[in-house]
């Protein structure tokens, strides 16, 4: 009797140590980090996916900014990165040299960057055009009742309040999208600041993450910032409508985002489509990419084939079933063209030369 209970105890201890769930399957923890922009979606997917796999797969995603996602991905301290700035040619080349395979940018979701603000008494729907919003972020327009803002919003009574610019202090793909838009619409911005995951801001305070910017904008009367649309919706923040390159005022919406994304994608999906020429497209939209290695065994954090396979299964789930979580959280669903490109990349993922990506896709 005693030996039986001892055995059970031993088995329990072992299963705890190695992580085997009640169904006898090995539990897997997938570690990812990066962009804060898709974080509400990815973590919601993680919740959902854990339930869908009976707790077999846990996805630990930490929102540390796209810059962080890229850094930790190339340092191989995480299993997958997440960024809304695609990997630069230089990083792609470095990874190819060090791992003997490519780095993949897999589109995982699609979203707008919206201008969020907190002007007492004014709801969403202030209208800005490119040059005005650029001048606000350059610190050249400092009051809410500036004539140029009033001209765009003739029906709104704007207060004399100072404008408080809030930007990201961390490396961020949201910043990358936002500044790429500003670069395209304002020469002054292009010449003085430029675009990148973090730039030298001419004015304003820095906050950490989409979370931080949203937090400060919410708490500060007169503040203006930029957030992924999801954060504006989740937090019930006022957001602006932007005039696109065709001269139409576009409220951010899933349709307008999809319209902007409706373009010819390159095979590696590395493309920015800010300031879209599409007359009904919203001008600041972009993908968030999941970053993975072609030769998955080269990532030091992925220690066995099972983890690699589970990661691939999660990616497939995320770009198909997982997309249903999107709209309730403020993200647009991926266009099917992007999903097809992702499938093509997943097919090439290998573990020690074994095409596990293809096997999983064909097995499904």
């Amino acid at each position: 009797m005693r030996s039986v209970s001892k055995l059970i105890g031993l088995a329990l201890t072992l299963s705890l140590l190695l992580g085997i769930n009640l169904h006898g399957q090995r539990r897997v923890e997938l570690i990812g980090a990066g962009a804060s922009f898709p974080a509400p979606l990815i973590t919601a997917m993680a919740d959902e996916y854990r339930d869908a796999t009976n707790g077999r797969v846990t996805i630990n995603y930490q929102s540390i900014g796209s810059g962080g996602g890229i850094r930790q991905f190339s340092e191989q301290t995480i299993m997958f990165g997440m960024s809304e700035a695609f990997l630069s040619d230089e990083i792609m080349k470095n990874i190819e040299q060090s791992t003997g395979g490519r780095a993949f940018n897999l589109p995982i979701t699609l979203a707008d960057v919206v201008v969020t603000y907190n002007v007492p008494g004014i709801d969403k729907g202030l209208v800005f055009d490119g040059p005005v919003i650029a001048d606000i972020f350059l610190g050249r327009i400092t009051r809410w009742n500036d004539r140029r803002i009033r001209n765009l919003n003739p029906d709104v009574r704007l207060p004399r309040h100072p404008i408080q610019v809030v930007h990201r202090s961390d490396g961020s793909g949201t910043t990358n999208l936002w500044t790429s838009y500003l670069t395209k619409v304002s020469d002054r911005w292009a010449n003085n600041v430029g675009f990148a995951t973090s730039v030298n801001w001419p004015t304003g305070v820095g906050a950490n993450g989409n979370e931080g910017v949203a937090g400060i904008v919410r708490n500060t009367p007169g503040a203006i910032g930029y957030n992924s649309f999801a954060y504006a919706l989740l937090n019930n923040m006022s957001y602006a409508y932007l005039e696109n390159s065709a001269g139409n005022v576009i409220p951010p919406s899933f349709d307008a985002t999809s319209a902007a994304a409706n373009i010819e994608l390159p095979t590696d999906t590395r493309i920015l489509f800010t300031d879209t020429p599409n007359p009904i497209g919203y001008p600041v939209a972009g993908f968030a990419w999941m970053l993975c290695y072609e030769n998955m065994e080269k990532n030091r954090t992925i220690s066995n084939k099972q983890q690699a396979e589970e990661l691939i299964r999660f990616i497939i789930w995320a770009i198909t079933d997982g997309q249903q979580l999107s709209e309730s959280l403020g993200y647009a669903q991926l266009p099917s063209a992007a999903i097809q490109k992702s499938y093509a990349m997943i097919r090439q993922m290998k573990w020690n030369g074994e095409p596990i990506g293809r096997n999983i896709l064909d097995g499904n």
Binding site: G67, I70, S169, G171, G204, V205, A207, I216
Partner: protein, 347 residues
Amino acid sequence: MKKRETDGSVLKEPNVKYQTSQTTLSEYLRKKRSFIYRTLGDRLFSYFIFALGFIVILTTIVMAIVLYKDGAEAIKRYGFFGFLFGRVWDPAMKIEFGAFPFIVGTLITSIGSLAISFVPALAVAIFTAEYSPRWLAHIIDNLTNLIAAIPSVIIGLWGIFVFAPWMRDTFYMNIYMWILDNNPSFAPIFGNPIGYGIATATIILAIMIVPYTTVLTVDAFKKVPKEQREAAYALGATKWEVVKMAVIPYARGGILAGVMLSFGRAIGETMAVAMLIGNKNNLPFSIIGPASTMPSVIVNEFREAVENIHLSSLIAVGFYLFIISLVVNLIAAYIQRKFSLTGARTV
């Protein structure tokens, strides 16, 4: 009397072991005389202890080496002083790095917080040591220590949600509006009234560093000889006059050491400052506007520096922070030694 009892109980312990570990007295005597047990045992034990203890020294040295080694790329590229006085921190366009903005930010906030906290910290020390009844002094002493014990993130949390908005609505916004109406050219120097910035961070720092000055000052006050006070009283001095003429001058070493220690804390304080200072990486700073300090830039950017030179520059900032902290702490240690103070209690 009580002490002797404890002493007795302590003495019992080896006796018990001695009885269990030996059978006859002669055997015990042989054992205790044995070379292995005595000389070699003593030597090995002391080496063992030194080896363990040496880790303390080693850790500090390794810290210096690691910070220098990992920051070397930046220090080499810009030069030791070039990096120190480099005014540009631009990870995007020019990919150029310099630590000067953070050094300025660190110095402004820490010196500012010292200036704000010095008088109140001294006052608390005078109150507990000279004026208050014992029970009250005891309570205040515990509370002051509690300030030092509250985790920095909790103070940051309170700062974000309570203190910064309150400062903004009560002071910054009104002053800013007044400046705009009366003297608009001063507005850029004053800064934008967002609530997060140098002034807020400095005040929060001041709250946090009070205990370090207070504790050492109280220690020093306790060391002032009775005769010193009594002599002053005998001259007919009032209590304040005694404090001013007899106590403070005598305790100036302790006060100075406390100030240095507070300064060291202010320089290294990370989370509360990072949460409240607004994170602006480039000069010029304004009075209430955002800035950055050396620890805050490390915490904010360390996980996400994409370029190698960016990461290396952050670690190099850490290296300079190490040097500054080292100097401040060594000065504090020197003062404590010179005035033979026991040093800040850790409680």
